[in-house]
């Protein structure tokens, strides 16, 4: 594996993580957190890292160069292109032995308990380091594009975002590719006092690819972090968000949208850890499952004894479009003090007959009416996005993937 350009500070981290993965092994469905997602198809593959010297494959349109303030493009986990200037540090984490990496890398992600975090930590080649100094407001957004290419190739992108006091930054990660590859990405965000971080992750992986994407967030006093995760692609996808509200008055927004069709499997695991008083978390995940796809929402809000005056709302709503689609929705609240305002809810439904009749009674065909209603359901998450280029791209892909189906029945019989 690559060693030459990796700073020494990472050496012990990698070694320990490698040993840890050997001990833990691949997660199995016997683990509570992996109950709904069977990684056996991933574990049985003899994965290999891609060779060096990659270039951006032809036909990739997901680049935001010119629109983003800065962009890094990774192919199979290696940095191949870098453009723009956001006025802050945006560079390859693996070649940066600076203080931020030493101070923050691996501090928030749980390499001890989570096998895939350990795997990422021991195996990562490149990744983005974004360092925003105190009081700096980054204009525009920083785009990180991860491209997977080929069969049997794995990559472990590792990103670190350090937002200084009262800084502001918007970062978007996009995952695309072709082939049966495996992406095991991990991003850590450290938001200092008063920092504002808007983070987007758009998973539009190849339909043959496996994707595990973890996001570990640590928030200090009065910081504000928004995570929006949209999953449209991938054969088997696992999204994990762990947010720790470590300082008073911090607030977190978690938005998620997952749309499955074919035999896609999309698992969303979120944990919000209210560890300080007066923090606020607002979570809304929406799922649309068609054909034989399967979705999972497993969300936990933990309110610790000291975290008084916590306000938390967690919602998961799902739309099932076929009889063979499955959703497992498991919202959970664990509250250890009395002085909180928390609620959560989960719904699973089908396209309602009334709106469908209404749209058709105005002349819309059944397919078009259904698509409009599905889009209306899913669109709520997209409409809330503030970052227009990413919003437009997601909207475009979402429209393309709208289930075009034959009418299941015709009324108007005698």
């Amino acid at each position: 594996m690559k060693t030459a350009s990796v700073p020494d500070v990472l050496q012990s981290l990698r070694q320990k993580a490698g040993e840890r993965f050997s001990t833990l092994g691949w997660p199995t469905t016997r683990l509570e957190q992996w109950k709904y997602t069977n990684l056996a198809p991933v574990a049985k593959v003899q994965w290999r890292p891609a060779g060096g010297g990659g270039t951006v494959p032809a036909g990739i349109t997901a680049t935001m160069a010119g629109r983003a303030a800065a962009e890094l493009i990774f192919v199979n986990g290696r940095l191949v292109e870098s453009s723009g200037d956001a006025g802050v540090i945006v560079r390859n984490l693996a070649s940066d032995p600076g203080g931020a990496v030493e101070e923050h890398l691996g501090r928030y992600a749980d390499a001890e308990g989570q096998a895939l975090v350990a795997l990422n930590t021991s195996q990562f080649v490149d990744g983005a380091l974004i360092e925003v100094p105190a009081n700096k407001v980054v204009d525009g957004f920083i785009h990180l594009l991860f491209i997977g290419e080929g069969d049997g190739v794995w990559s472990h992108p590792r990103n670190l975002i350090v937002a200084g006091r009262n800084s502001e930054v918007t970062i978007a990660e996009t995952y695309v590719g072709t082939g049966a590859y495996f992406t095991n990405a991990l991003t850590e965000i450290a938001a200092a006092d008063g920092a504002v971080v808007d983070h987007y992750r758009f998973g539009n992986e190849s339909r043959d690819a496996f994707h595990v994407g973890a996001l570990y967030v640590n928030q200090r006093r009065s910081s504000s972090v928004t995570s929006r995760i949209v999953t449209l692609g991938g054969a088997l996808v696992r999204n994990e968000v762990v947010g720790v509200l470590a300082g008073e008055g911090a607030s977190m927004v978690l938005d998620g949208l997952f749309v499955g069709k074919g035999t896609q499997h999309i698992d969303n695991q979120t944990t919000v850890d209210h560890a300080s008083p007066h923090c606020d978390s607002q979570e809304l995940y929406k799922g649309v499952l068609d054909e034989q796809s399967r979705g999972v929402f497993d969300g936990k809000v933990l309110v610790r004894p000291d975290a008084v005056k916590t306000v938390s709302r967690q919602e998961n709503h799902n739309l099932i479009l076929s009889e063979s689609a499955i959703i497992d929705s498991k919202p959970a609240l664990e509250i250890h003090n009395d002085d909180v305002k928390c609620n959560h809810g989960s719904t699973i439904g089908q396209i309602a007959e009334e709106p469908l009749f209404y749209l058709r009674s105005r002349g819309l065909g059944e397919d078009e009416a259904r698509n409009l209603l599905v889009y209306a359901f899913a669109g709520e998450i997209v409409d809330r996005m503030k970052l227009q280029p990413v919003q437009e791209e997601i909207r475009r892909v979402l429209f393309e993937q709208m289930p075009a189906r034959l009418p299941e029945r015709r009324e108007g019989r005698r």
Partner: protein
């Protein structure tokens, strides 16, 4: 234009229309009045093809074609419009986008060129004035957060844009204040022509003061009990429905 023969229909296994016959010609406005439970809304919903209603017998032809055999959207594209009694709210589906898609689906059906965004907006603005709806409503979700009166006006606005051959108004007047009632009536009157027909289903006579019908039918117990001119509506207003109920009861014996 519309010919209903001996129509029997119901919901949840219960027969509500028990042999209803009615002819509506182009250029005519017919009012169907009747007490609650007489089958007024069932008639409107069966004509529009609402899935929960069952047709048990009889026939409905629209311009010589079997209306009951058509899917919901085809009825609409052929020119049948139902202004609903309780228009549903559809958050996330933009009013204007939806209406443009609906109009273009109809134009395509008729072999006409689809309207582009500018042409459509021009048409929509013109019709919005008729129903005195503010443009800001148009960019909201379909009926989302609309008051009862606004929903009804939106129905009439949609009708004005889609320009149906046969408009069926299912208790569009219920719950409207005087202003909204006048606006709704204006919208329908603007549609009246020798090519259009209107079927006004109502419990009260008050809409008919602004929207004067050519024919009035009294529906009771699933059948047309009495037909006449506009003076029949006034008679109903004065005498109520009790005498109709008694006649219906007598007829059922």
């Amino acid at each position: 234009m519309l010919e209903i023969k001996d129509l029997r229909a119901g919901i949840d296994g219960k027969e509500i229309l028990k042999g209803l016959s009615l002819k509506v010609g182009a250029g005519e406005v017919h009012a169907i009045m009747g007490p609650n439970g007489s089958g007024k809304s069932t008639l409107a919903n069966v004509l529009a093809g609402r899935p929960s209603y069952e047709v048990l017998g009889g026939s409905v032809t629209f311009e010589g074609r079997d209306l009951l055999a058509m899917p919901i959207e085809e009825r609409a594209r052929e020119g049948v419009f139902l202004a609903m009694q309780y228009p549903v709210e559809i958050p996330g589906v933009n009013n204007i986008y939806f209406l443009k898609a609906a109009l273009n689906a109809m134009r395509k059906h008729r072999g006409e060129e689809e309207l582009d965004a500018v042409e459509f907006l021009q048409l929509a603005r013109e019709k919005m004035k008729v129903v005195e709806l503010n443009e800001q409503f148009m960019n909201r979700g379909v009926n989302e957060g609309f008051s009862g009166g606004e929903k009804k006006r939106n129905e009439i606005f949609q009708m004005a844009v889609l320009d149906p051959k046969l408009a069926i108004l299912d208790e569009t007047d219920s719950g409207l204040d005087i202003d909204a009632l006048r606006i709704v009536a204006n919208g329908v009157n603007a549609l009246r022509s020798e090519h259009h027909a209107v079927l006004v289903i109502t419990h009260y006579q008050r809409l008919l003061r602004y929207l004067v019908p050519d024919y009035v039918h009294v529906l009771a117990n699933g059948r047309i009990m009495k037909s006449g001119g506009k003076e029949l509506a006034e008679e109903l207003e004065q005498k109520g429905y009790d005498w109709i109920d008694q006649e219906a009861a007598a007829a059922a014996r």
